[in-house]
């Protein structure tokens, strides 16, 4: 079958690239504090997990990211609804939101650590601030994209504005909202890590910084690997949610197809 062949190809390709990396590093005698061979990264990974160090920090970063994502999503969604449903809010408030968005929000992280401390709260706030914007814009666009014929149909049926919102605009906006969540979850992870870089006592970001000071490059590689797997997993989580929510959207089905 094609699917088993694809899996075999993927695994084969991965093995070949890892072997190539290992070979090049050993052949050219690259020092492990510049680029470690994959075998040493694997050892660092195994030790980190065996000692319980990585799981503890992973859980911490995951908590920050998920809470930040939820807060940012709630913020982005409500602002999107507010801006889309009121011309006044759009006119008077939206420019400030755009201004705030234009600022590199990573630069706010030191301030946020001062305001919210070295603990969980500052990372959650940072993640939320980085994540909310794409969801807000997508919610706005989605709510406004309701088909005019369908709106007319509901008006002709004497439906109230709130019925039009709940029965038409909101479900119609869901494909846009889901696309926004897709982006937001990864941005939340970035926000959490940046927050940890600035000042933290736990988390994978803090771990990377500590390893950087001690030139433990294999360790850093192993944490980066965990982070990318974490990002992938979060993305998959949203994809599962998307398939559940958008069961009616034919584009959802085609996206999960293999090449």
């Amino acid at each position: 079958m094609t699917s088993t062949r694809n899996v075999a190809l993927t695994v084969g390709l991965l093995c070949v690239s890892l072997a190539g990396w290992e070979g090049v590093v050993r052949l050219l005698a690259v020092p492990a504090y510049i680029v470690p061979p994959p075998s040493r990264v694997a050892v660092a990974l195994w030790r980190g997990f065996a000692s319980g160090l990585y799981p503890r920090h992973l859980l911490y970063t995951l908590t920050e990211t998920v809470l930040g994502f939820l807060l940012g999503a709630a913020l982005g969604f409500s602002l999107g609804v507010a801006v889309a449903s009121s011309r006044y809010i759009e006119y008077f408030v939206y420019p400030y939101i755009v201004m705030f968005q234009s600022l590199p929000k990573v630069a706010l992280a030191p301030l946020i650590v001062i305001w919210f401390g070295l603990g969980l709260a500052s990372k959650v706030v940072n993640a939320a601030l980085v994540a909310f914007f794409p969801l807000m814009v997508n919610t706005m666009v989605g709510l406004r994209s309701a088909d005019e014929d369908r709106v007319s149909l509901m008006r002709a049926l004497a439906a109230s504005e709130s019925q039009i919102f709940w029965m038409l605009r909101l479900p119609g906006a869901l494909p846009f909202v889901m696309a926004g969540l897709d982006v937001a979850v990864i941005l939340a992870l970035i926000g959490a890590i940046v927050g940890e870089f600035v000042g933290a006592q736990h988390g994978l970001g803090m771990l990377i910084q500590g390893m950087n000071f001690t030139m433990d490059v294999s360790g850093q590689f192993s944490v980066l690997l965990i982070l990318s797997v974490l990002g992938l997993a979060l993305n998959k989580g949203i994809a599962v949610l998307r398939r559940r929510v958008l069961f009616w959207d034919p584009s959802v089905k085609s996206r999960s197809d293999t090449p």
Binding site: D147, S152, L153, L157, A158, Q163, P171, G172, D249
Partner: protein
Amino acid sequence: MTLADDPARRRPATGSSAKVRLRGLSKAFSVKGRRVEALAGIDLDIQAGEFLCVVGPSGCGKTTLLRMLAGLEQQTSGSIEVARDGSSARPLNSMVFQEQSIFPWLSVRDNVAFGLKAQGLGRRERYGIVEPFIRKVGLTGFEDALPHQLSGGMKQRVSIARAFATDPEMLLMDEPFGALDAMTRELMNLELQRIWLERQKTVLFITHSIPEAVFLADRVLVMTTRPGAIMDDVAVRLPRPRALDAMSTSEFGGCVARIRARFNAQGGVDA
């Protein structure tokens, strides 16, 4: 404001059995500061239970006329009087548009029941009412299907079932079959006629196709463009139910020829 709340529209028609009386109805839009007259002084009586088709070139204000009847637009001047049936619980009108106005996230059953839900009926009651309409449009067995699993013709059947299910006094149809292929279109015309004969609703049906208009209508209005006005009013005297071979009768041919001549007289065929 909804139609039902407007006392002017609830006034009973005097003297005749007209369901709808339009007097001096006109509508002007402002486009980039310029005044564009979409409709100029339409006088029209629509009888209760009549199937009225409107044909005319693009931009002749057909859709504007329909939207005003639906209460979606306010006229610039003139009057619309609608004689309401006794029970005001029924909605005045229901609309059917060209393609894709059904809801992709709802099953066929929930789409047909949509208008009833908007009226606040409970689930059990809705499904009970909807069932015979789904059967009438030939979608039995597809109740739980989602729109993306249906063909274009089936989607339009859902729209039609939805429009009939709320039991409106009037049906407003804006080129409902415009996006369908010719074969499906003829089939849908037959089905629409059949359901209409069972329920005898007042129908205003906009189309670009002269044969479609003549086949369906008791009366065809031919409109001119800019400003939109009624140029001709053609009664179609074909017995019902009409089968597709009604199209080869001389009455049918005569009506089509007369309407087409009207079109050509104003310098363009748009059908």
